[in-house]
């Protein structure tokens, strides 16, 4: 028997080895090998080979059967049970799925919304190393000014002397200009950028090398969209465009459109900074070398850090610079750096910053609202599941007998909830598209700002979110249903009252009512706020006024051309549009005083005060026959009077004011007017005659036919200035777009959210009441037999509900008041919540809840005792 040993086929041997556990492994392998050899000898090699592989296959099947299939079989059993349960109680299942779908759809939308903000400017290469430099100026009087711009000399210093900075980029504001090519003129958003800009923000260039962009003056880089507007599909490199006041500029290159989630999204043309540097170099104020000057030029400084740890080094370097170059007795300056993408969360305290702004607190509020709605739906589910626990007792009992532990039951019920949630998810995805659509309908400008993309990762997030919702929703009822002593569930069902003595359910329902009430109050509050903002007195009259962008030299011509028309009842001009921006700030002081005051400076023409119907509180307006000499005459507003130390407006007349090296005389006092926004405290302001700074014409239309008026004006304009855009906007639209839009949107969104919350809460209430009435049919029958009237029964059934509403009122009212104050804390001018508002809230609650319950109560009350007690 010295035949050479045939070893087992390697692969099969390995599989077998894996499938058999120690310590049996080697014995079994030996057995197999022995039989294999015997067969090889007795029959033949092929036979042995197939026998062996047959053994391996059997082992594999056994393994799969033992591990996988038993679990799958169990899983399918649970699945069948779950589906059976859903179908047995179709009504409740539907209510739950629908409610959860609504709740989740809002959350899905919020997820996309939040992720949009957190993705700002993250698509740039090295985005984690790109930062923005901000300047903070603390004056000796304690007022703090935060600016997104920095001093011009800082750019080169950071670029050349700071080791932590690899590259620096500057973006500076440029007056929006019209741009034309080949007789086609359009308006475009211009910004100045230095050549470092495209090195820090390596956008993909479509035509041209980004490292060559904007090295010389009079060059521009345009976006794809702009290129298409003027040149179609051609390559416009090297072509020359006429850019209004800036003159002729050559196209250095074209970049792809900047995505929505970037602070630079709205910029269409980048012009080389060196174009303007020449002008500034000749300015005798030497703005390019002035460390303390943050505006005109207004450089936004972006830096690319050398490596991840450079933050602190750069900040130390910057504080050194501030110490050395900028600090003096009147004010201390400091710098700080922020990651470029976080800019979107800046507050309106940052002057002169780019792009979309959104407050962190708003995001938090939106997230909380979405989660609250979802919570209402979750509570519905928990409520109804615990209520129906009794119907599942038989199944649970059998499972326990068959050996199920509590963990198995828990997993089963949470799994059922997850299944329900996943079904709701598919509906929710459908709903959330509707919500996105509604969101964009709120205001046309929204679709130019936001875009919500569908990516695989977003859908994975949705799935995880749904799973979490299922787990959280199902956890409590699972605990309740799987409790070790199920007999306790029985004892809960023989008590009086609509909600029996189940405390869990009472708590849940109260929570739902409280949340609904809270939402109603939020809606009422935001409505009041919106109305307040809308009707706020700005200090001047903006009805039927349009603002037209002009060049200062055009004003006189325009005035002559338009004044005669019957469409126009008044014309004036200003440098900017007051009411939405605090654009021009200067430090001024009285001649004989040391303290200076920061005031808002509004350059206007002599007609402005009359045209905008402002009131002269003291002194007089500009004379009709005005001359350039009168630029030294100014009017100040009432707040300025107080802050400059005058006792009353009359005292200010004739006094002198100094700003920098210029001296002015006060000839009059006007009423306070809104500079930045209605909610800010009135700022001290100066109105001054400056014919050279009139960039906006304020045309008050007579109001008869605004449409025709505008057409007329447009025609006149193109006669005067062919190839220039008649760029106008209604003053009220401008205000709304910048100020009141947040309150308007808040109200619309708040009411929508409340509407959803109420729907879900009502559904829940309906479900619970339906169930309770079902269980109490017998009791009602007995009571009726014993002589209870309809009223008795209704009051019996609704008494509990009223108590719970009362509790939620007591809980929510102080919370609402507190949050209202907190949210509007930074606003000086705002609306208040009164008793009437809370009263309205309660009424709505009672009405909605009442209707819901009443439907069931009526059914209950018409129960015929003969039917229900038939079997007693």
């Amino acid at each position: 028997m010295s035949i050479k040993n045939k070893a087992l086929p390697g692969l099969g041997g390995k599989i077998l080895a894996l499938l058999t556990p120690e310590p049996e492994r080697k014995y079994l392998l030996g057995d197999h090998e022995e039989i294999y050899n015997d067969l090889h000898k007795a029959k033949n090699g092929v036979y042995a080979y197939f026998w062996f592989w047959f053994q391996v296959t059997k082992a594999l099947m056994e393994f799969i059967n033992n591990t996988l299939l038993k679990d799958i079989a169990m899983f399918i059993n649970y699945l069948k049970t779950a589906i059976r349960n859903f179908r047995k109680h179709k009504g409740f299942s539907f209510i739950n799925i629908f409610g959860l779908a609504i709740g989740m759809s809002v959350c899905l939308f919020i997820i996309k919304f939040v992720l949009f903000f957190y993705s700002f400017d993250d698509f740039h290469e090295n985005s984690d190393r790109i930062f923005m430099v901000n300047t903070i100026r603390l004056s000796s009087s304690g007022s703090e000014l935060r600016s997104a711009t920095t001093s011009f000399p800082l750019v080169e210093v950071l670029r050349n002397e700071c080791p932590g900075v690899e590259k620096a980029a500057v973006l500076a504001h440029c007056a929006n200009s019209s741009v034309s090519f080949n007789n086609k003129t359009l308006s475009a958003e211009f910004e100045y950028a230095d050549h470092g800009f495209f090195e820090v923000f390596k956008t993909l260039s479509k035509f041209g090398e980004s490292s060559d962009f904007l090295k010389q003056p009079n060059r521009i880089v345009i976006t794809e969209k702009t290129a298409e507007k003027f040149f179609g599909n051609e390559n416009p490199m090297g072509k020359v465009m006429h850019c209004g006041e800036l003159g002729d500029m050559t196209i250095d290159g074209v970049i792809y459109d900047i995505p929505y989630n970037s602070q630079f999204h709205e910029i269409e043309i980048f012009a080389s900074l060196s174009t303007l540097e020449d002008n500034w170099r000749n300015d005798k104020n030497k703005p390019l070398e002035n460390w303390r000057r943050l505006v005109n030029p207004s450089p936004h400084l972006y830096i690319l850090l050398r490596d991840d740890d450079s933050n602190e080094n750069v900040e130390t370097f910057l504080s050194g610079i501030a110490e050395k170059r900028m600090n003096y007795d009147r004010a201390t300056y400091s710098f700080n750096i922020i990651p470029a993408g976080e800019y979107v969360f800046g507050t309106d305290l940052y002057y002169n910053s780019y792009g979309l702004k959104f407050w962190h607190i708003m995001l938090v509020l939106w997230i909380i609202s979405a989660l609250s709605i979802l919570m209402i739906a979750s509570f519905n589910y928990s409520n109804m599941s615990t209520a129906k626990a009794l119907t599942r007792m038989r199944e649970i009992g059998i499972r326990k007998v068959m050996g199920a532990q509590r963990i198995h039951l828990l997993l089963q019920f949470v799994g059922e909830t997850i299944l329900l949630t996943l079904i709701a998810l598919s509906l929710a995805i459908f709903f959330h598209y509707i919500i996105i659509d509604l969101f964009f309908r709120l205001h046309p400008v929204l679709s130019t700002i936001f875009v919500f993309e569908d990516t695989i990762s977003i859908y994975i997030v949705f799935l995880v979110f749904a799973l979490l919702t299922g787990i959280v929703s199902g956890f409590i009822p699972a605990l309740y249903i799987s409790r070790p002593r199920p007999i306790e569930i029985l004892s809960n069902f023989s008590k009086n009252g609509v909600f029996s003595r189940s405390n869990i359910r009472r708590v849940l329902i109260t929570a739902q009512l409280a949340l609904s009430f809270f939402f109603i109050m939020v809606t009422i509050a935001s409505y009041k706020h919106y109305k307040y903002a809308d009707n706020f007195d700005l200090g001047f009259n903006i009805d039927n006024v349009i603002n037209v962008k002009i060049k200062p030299f055009q004003y006189r011509q325009l005035r002559n051309a338009f004044s005669g028309s019957s469409y126009v009842s008044g014309i004036s001009a200003s440098q900017y549009i007051p009411g939405t921006t605090s654009y021009n700030n200067h430090m001024v002081k009285r001649v004989d005083s040391i303290d200076s005051l920061r005031v808002s400076y509004l350059p206007v023409d002599e007609n402005f005060i009359d045209n905008m119907e402002m009131k002269i509180v003291a002194g007089q307006n500009y004379p009709e026959k005005i001359s350039p000499r009168d630029q030294r005459l100014i009017l100040i507003n009432e707040t300025a009077v107080k802050l400059l130390g005058f006792n009353n407006p009359g005292d200010a007349i004739g006094e002198g004011i100094v700003s920098g090296r210029r001296a002015f005389t006060i000839i009059g006092v006007v009423n306070d007017y809104t500079t930045y926004a209605y909610y800010r405290q009135m700022e001290p302001g100066i109105v001054g005659y400056r014919p050279g700074l009139l960039y906006y014409a304020n045309i008050r239309l007579s109001g008869n036919d605004n449409q025709a008026a505008i057409e007329y004006l447009e025609k006149k304009w193109s006669e005067l200035y062919p190839n220039t855009l008649f760029d106008y906007e209604f003053y009220s639209d401008h205000i709304e777009r910048n100020s009141t839009i947040t309150s308007k949107l808040s109200f619309q969104i708040g009411s929508f959210v409340t509407f959803l919350a109420i729907i879900i809460a009502s559904l829940g209430l309906l479900g619970i009441t339906m169930y309770n009435v079902q269980t109490k049919i017998k009791e009602i029958g007995i009571r009726k037999t014993l002589g209870a009237s309809v009223n008795n029964i209704i009051s019996l059934l609704s008494k509990d509900y009223l108590i719970l509403i009362g509790i939620s009122f007591v809980l929510i009212t102080p919370l609402t008041i507190y949050l209202h104050d907190l949210a509007l804390k930074s606003l000086v001018n705002k609306s208040e919540l009164g008793i009437i508002d809370f009263g309205i809230g309660i009424l709505v609650m009672l009405a909605v809840g009442g209707i819901t319950i009443l439907s069931q109560l009526i059914k209950a009350v018409h129960v015929n005792p003969a039917d229900t007690l038939r079997y007693e």
Partner: protein, 107 residues
């Protein structure tokens, strides 16, 4: 007392029968020959494990032969408990089968 299944019983008695060569391959051949039915590896291996687990059998390492690729055999022996079980089964069987004769069935 744990009730043996028929196959476990057959495996048990075969282990006793084969004495020192009572390992899986030999048991399989023995049982296949006697019962005339092809016993699979599993149908012997599983009863062996159960019997060992319940204390009817003990095992020790046997010789390693080249035909097994150098791996050793697992030789099983009867324990006292196993012997008791066998004796009992024999007694019960004998009593049940006492005076068994083949009966011819008429036409």
């Amino acid at each position: 007392m744990y009730t043996l299944t028929r196959r476990e019983e057959q495996v048990l008695i075969s282990v006793w029968h084969l004495k020192e060569s009572a390992y899986l391959v030999a048991l399989r051949k023995h049982l296949t020959d006697i019962t005339g039915r092809l016993w699979s590896i599993g149908s012997i291996h599983k009863p062996l494990l159960i019997l060992e687990k319940n204390g009817y059998l003990e095992a020790y390492d046997g010789e390693a032969t080249p035909i097994r690729g150098g791996r050793s055999k697992k030789i099983y022996t009867i324990t006292k408990k196993g012997m008791a079980a066998l004796t009992q089964y024999k007694k019960v069987n004998d009593s049940l089968w006492a005076d068994f004769q083949e009966v011819e069935f008429g036409k």
